[in-house]
Symmetry: C2
Subunit: 148 residues, 2 copies
């Protein structure tokens, strides 16, 4: 399961992606309100996202946050990895959080690892191809479908 932090990050970044072309920053409190994210928590999350280069910020009155990259360049896999941790089911198949399985005799011949590797590949295939723009597009598509 993804931690709330990751979910909040995706939600906040998506909100920023929606207004990307306005070229005006969005206030934390504004995002917190519309996305129903605890204000202070979101503050911490956005700060982290800034340090990782996802967003930029402007201090002071009329300040706020804005996407630092084009929304098509920001993939869900990046956000997940930056905020939540591994996508893989086990540390021994995680690209970014690798850790040796000290119970298993041999990683190379471990049957379980082989399966879990396949699962990671399948998940990553989707998550690394889905950008913030795609999330917004999906939302629009679902809205149309539901309207009919």
């Amino acid at each position: 399961m993804l931690p709330k932090k990751t979910k909040y990050a995706i939600k906040a970044l998506t909100a920023l992606a929606v207004v990307y072309f306005d070229k005006k920053p969005l206030r934390i409190s504004q995002i917190a309100e519309t996305e129903k994210i605890p204000r202070k928590f979101l503050e911490a999350i956005l700060l982290e996202l800034k340090n990782q280069g996802f967003v930029g910020s402007k201090m002071g009155a009329t300040g706020g946050y804005y996407l630092a990259k084009h929304p098509e360049e920001i993939m869900l896999s990046h956000i997940i990895r930056s905020t939540g941790g591994p996508i893989a089911l086990l540390p021994c198949v995680s690209l970014n959080y690798y850790e040796k399985c000290n119970e298993c005799k041999d990683e190379i011949t471990c049957g379980l690892r082989d399966v879990v590797l396949e699962v990671r590949e399948a998940s990553l295939k989707i998550l690394s191809k889905t950008s913030l723009t795609d999330v917004i597009l999906r939302e629009k598509r679902l809205l149309r479908k539901n309207m009919k």
Copy 2:
């Protein structure tokens, strides 16, 4: 990430699957030793697996555990769900641990949910088709490949 409990469960059940046709039970301590699982923890796990119908047991001297079903019938998805929890990345797309996303206005039109649903489908496709027998087969294949 899968909890250790789940990993241990899969490992233990696989060990039982290997000797399935011997028709003799395997002792906890034996499994714990060969799979490097903390003895007492494994005890608790196997008991739970028994209550869920995965294994049977025999008490007393010469007692132990054995698979209650054919190893081809036990899928990784079953074990994960019984011991670890959801396979889905978010509660709103979990079949067995469903919980409403109270931040999102509408589940039906949520773009993030749509992506995460696709990921769950992809993972489940693999995990619900992979049995204990398959895990053993993969292991054998990997061994052969590595020998050459």
